[in-house]
Structure formats: structure tokens, C-alpha cells
């Protein structure tokens, strides 16, 4: 599992989202992490409107957009899965 670190948040993007953004991993230092949610980070990244099928994982666990973040979290935005 991702290790907890002080006052930083790791953000990861995959597949089409990674290419849309032009980066795959970024470390954010948020001014007020206690008030931050995955949805707030999504809006701050300016990757476009939330779309159907977009999912979130925090520390490898699926999460809701409104879930609060804590320092050291690994936050991933996941386009619809197409494996198997």
C-alpha cells in the first residue's frame, strides 16, 4: 500500500486521461488538505467536466468523489475499464 507522507498528495492518471492531461503522476501540496476531496482535486486539475464512468481510487481502494483526502494519499482518476 502507498506509504503515508506529510502534507502531500500523489495524483495518478491512466490511459486516455493521462494523454489528455499530458502527465501521468503529479505531487500536489494542497493549502487546506483537510477540506479537500477527490472531486475538488479533479476540478483544480482542470481536466474537463466529470463524465459517466469515471472512477476514483484512493490508496488502491475505490472511493466516492466526495471522500475526504488525507496527507500521503495516492489519488487516481480512472477512465472506464476495458480489461479481460
Amino acid at each position: 500500500m502507498p506509504n503515508s507522507q506529510s502534507s502531500v498528495l500523489k495524483v495518478r492518471l491512466f490511459a486516455s486521461l493521462r494523454e489528455l492531461a499530458g502527465w501521468h503522476e503529479r505531487t500536489l501540496i494542497l493549502a487546506d488538505l483537510d477540506q479537500s476531496t477527490a472531486l475538488a482535486v479533479w476540478e483544480e486539475l482542470q481536466l474537463g467536466p466529470w463524465f459517466p464512468g469515471l472512477r476514483i481510487a484512493i490508496n488502491w481502494q475505490f472511493a466516492e468523489p466526495e471522500q475526504k483526502l488525507v496527507a500521503g494519499d495516492e489519488l487516481a482518476f480512472l477512465p472506464p475499464f476495458t480489461g479481460g
Binding site: 490511459a15 486516455s16 464512468g53 475499464f81
Partner: protein, 154 residues
Amino acid sequence: MSWPSCLRLLVADVCIHVEVRAEAFLPWSELEQWSYGDAALAVFVGRVRVEGQNGISIDALEIEHYPGMCEARITKDAEVALASHGANSVLVLHRVGRLIPGEVIVLVAVTADRRGPAQRCCSSLLEALKHEAPFWKREWSAEQGIWLEGNTPL
């Protein structure tokens, strides 16, 4: 963060082996090497289609995954499926990287004491993998890549 591409979980009589590979594999050879002692074995093998989802022939299929979360998610789903269906062991091998048409993408194998639990568990785990495991496919044709937006129907 590094993470082994293989997770093996052995609890009591239940054995789960999940592996994401960048190299091609032969499913029947893998099954021969897989150690199991049950009477029933159910197997699913998925291969790259010749035609893409838009009906055009593809040159290659690119598969990407979320290392770590992907293996952990499949392992968790395998635990649930084994318990739900009363099966005993699971082998999941899944490719990533660039594959050509006809190449094996995924092997899902389940053993149990009887055919019913083995077949139901195999089917259930495959659907969980397709919908809950973070893999993404991109079809390549004439040097154009298109990320797929959903799975093919069951």
C-alpha cells in the same frame, strides 16, 4: 512505488495466483504447470480480436493497467468468488503491453470439487475482472490508436 506483478495467496485449502505479464504466454502450458488437485477445472481464455469495436481490422491491441491496485483488486474479487461459489483455487494471468490479433490476453482458471462451482466461479470472476480491475485497451489500426470506452457485451 514498486509492486510485484504477481500475488499469491494461500489460506487453508484456498489458493489464488494472480499475475500481470508484459510477455506472451501459452495458456495450456501455464495450466500444466499450475498445481491443483481438484476434480473439476473451468477455464476461460480471451484473445485479441481481428476486428476492432468499430469493425475495422486492427494491427495491434495495447493494454495498460494500474500496477498494484490491479493485482490487489483481482485477488480480492477472487477471494469473494471462491467463497461465494465454494470453489478452491484460482489462476489469473493477464497481459499488458502491445499484443497482435490472436494473441492471448487473459487466462482465468478455477478448480473445485464439482463442475458447477468451478464454472460459476470462473464466469463470476471473469466478469468482476472485466468491470472492476483497472485495465485499459487501445486498438491500433493504420498507426491510429483509439482507447476503448467499454467492454463487449457478455
